[in-house]
């Protein structure tokens, strides 16, 4: 069977990509210090999940997953708006968006 036209193997590729994107996102969140990068990594994880949803939707022939993705995109847009606003605000206050300098709230 042609691996390109075989729907099952096509889906597998999508799944690998999605997992890869998600892992990159997690690593970015864990090891980067720049708050803006962390935010972008979170977006990356979100979109990895979106990709997963879409590919499963195509595989099963059920449109529910695609509908759901639209909602997630709307939420993600809102979240980015808030998150970026926070970044700007943090930068204005302390002149940096390094999360290591955001350690006042403890004990």
């Amino acid at each position: 069977m042609n691996p390109i036209t075989n729907p099952e193997s096509t889906t597998n590729w999508y799944l690998f990509l999605s997992c890869l994107l998600f892992s990159i996102g997690v690593m970015g969140v864990l090891f980067r210090k720049n708050a803006l990068i962390i935010l972008m990594c979170i977006e990356l994880m979100l979109n990895a999940v979106n990709l997963l949803l879409v590919s499963f939707s195509a595989y099963t022939g059920n449109t529910d997953g695609q509908t759901f993705v639209f909602f997630i995109m709307v939420v993600a847009a809102a979240e980015v708006a808030v998150g970026l606003a926070l970044m700007v605000s943090i930068y204005r206050n302390i002149g940096s968006i390094d999360i290591q300098s955001l350690n006042k709230l403890k004990w």
């Binding site: 864990l30 210090k33 999360i99 290591q100 955001l102 403890k106």
Partner: protein
Amino acid sequence: MNNTMNLLTMITPAMMIPLFPLLGFLIVSLFGKKLGFMSGWIASMAILGSFLCSINLFVGLEGDQQLNFSIFKWIAAGDLQIDFGFLIDQLSLIMLLIVTGIGFLIHIYSIGYMHHDEGFSRFFSYLNLFIFFMLLLVMGNNYAVMFIGWEGVGLCSYLLIGFWFKNPEYNNAAKKAFVMNRIGDLGFLIGIFALIFHFGTLDFMDVQNQLAGFEPDAPILIFITLMLFIGATGKSAQLPLYTWLPDAMAGPTPVSALIHAATMVTAGIYMICRSNLLFALAPFTLHVILIVGVATSLFAAIIGIKQNDIKKVLAYSTVSQLGLMFAAIGLGAFESSMFHVMTHAFFKALLFLGAGSVIHAMGGEQDIRKMGGLSKSIKTTFVTFLIATLAISGIFPFAGFFSKDEILAKAFEHNLLVWALLSISSMITAFYMFRLLFLVFYGSFRGTQEQAQHLHESPISMTLPLMILAVLSAFGGFFGLPSVFSSTHQLMAFLAPIFNSSKQVTLETPPLSHEQEWLLMGIATLAALVSIYYAFTLYLKKQQIPENESELTGISKVVANKFYVDEFYHKVIVNPVVILSDLLLVLVDKLIIDMVVNLTAILVDAIGRLYRLIQTGSTGFYLIAMVLSMVIVMFIQIIL
């Protein structure tokens, strides 16, 4: 048919009787500050409304008609049904007229008396609340409604005794009255529970109907009646619970007149008369009541001789007169007791109001050793006070003569010893009342120069009630003329429907012959005159003035110190309670309860100190913790 229609139209005025004072209370207590001086008049008008409704009922109910109606179902628990209902019959009518009538006069009087007081409207709101509860007590058609009134008047009594709450001594007097009453109330409550347990109802009429099958002196009846009587001793200040009443004189004088002389303290007598068949079926309890009544009457009268505070003298005389009423109940002479309740309400209210007028003139002085010769400067007060004194001493033809004579005659029929003791008690009464009269109104003025110039007659709002009460004290006795004067005893005929059933149970002794009655009256009058003469020689001829307490010796010192009853109670009851409380404070409260509470706090504190270390403030750490936790949760889910 016409009759029942007639009765139905009575329900509205009957409901309005307690509503007026309640409304007055609400208006005066909510808007008292704005109303200012008007609040006194509003409160008085509320009582006047109740009084007019009572008269309406008094005129409307004929013969043995009674109005018994339920307003709403109040308590329904299984078989027990208690309605919130009113019973208007001849007995409650008498009490209604006394409470609202004298209550109205005392309200008017208070407008003058409390004029300068900063708590003017607060005073009137309490008075109206008191009248409301007293009316509930009197009108209730079952023991439960009566009990609300019973507790309510106790509350108002507490509030009014402690009216000048800035004085700690007055507050203590209020607390004492409240606690003493509570002891009695417990007895009353147990009696009520026993009634529910045994009869399954609290309705006066139902209980009475069920009593038909009982043998006299059944143990359960003795128990119930004794418990109810304990309630009565608390409220009506009998031995051994009387000590709160003299202390209650800390309240404003109109309060003493209304609550602690004319109305509330007679609640115990009313309650027993209301359940007369119950008590008549328990002769043993009647004996106890007789003994307590006679003992109280004598004991309080003796203490009264040596008191030097004008209000304290009247307080002990009230206790003594209440003892006389209880003695009458003990003799089975319920209607004589009610007769004395009525006349006593007239002349004792008058005496207290007169005393208030004297205190008003003296600028707050209450010590009779510092008065004297007041008859010239305050004539109206003097004349009315004299009438009341004659009435309480039992001088013909004033009100007290007839009611007291009736009780003495009943005592003579039953037992010579009781008669002799009660006669001695009324002799002593005559003595100390005239001692009071002579010391206050005759002789030379013993106060300060300043007080002498300040002496003045009270305003018309105070003297008018005095005059009305004086008329009642003078002629109130004609409601119950003894058989030598008239063939019908009006009050007895009026109350006959109430006491008919118990009359058949109690032993009827043959009535006294006319000669015997004349003799008894002669002896009583002579005895009173002798004591008056004795008081006359001591305090007018020899111009004696009571010594200071430190100069007293022997028996008179014991009497002046009220037989050390208060001290005795303090040592035997109050002190052990205080010691026990201190012990419990140290052992239970401080040691156990505080320890448990503190240990809990320490534990929470320690855990908090440990766990807060997680909050490092480093965002990276939080993120790692979050991802790790999610991974762990995922693994756990896969494994399980």
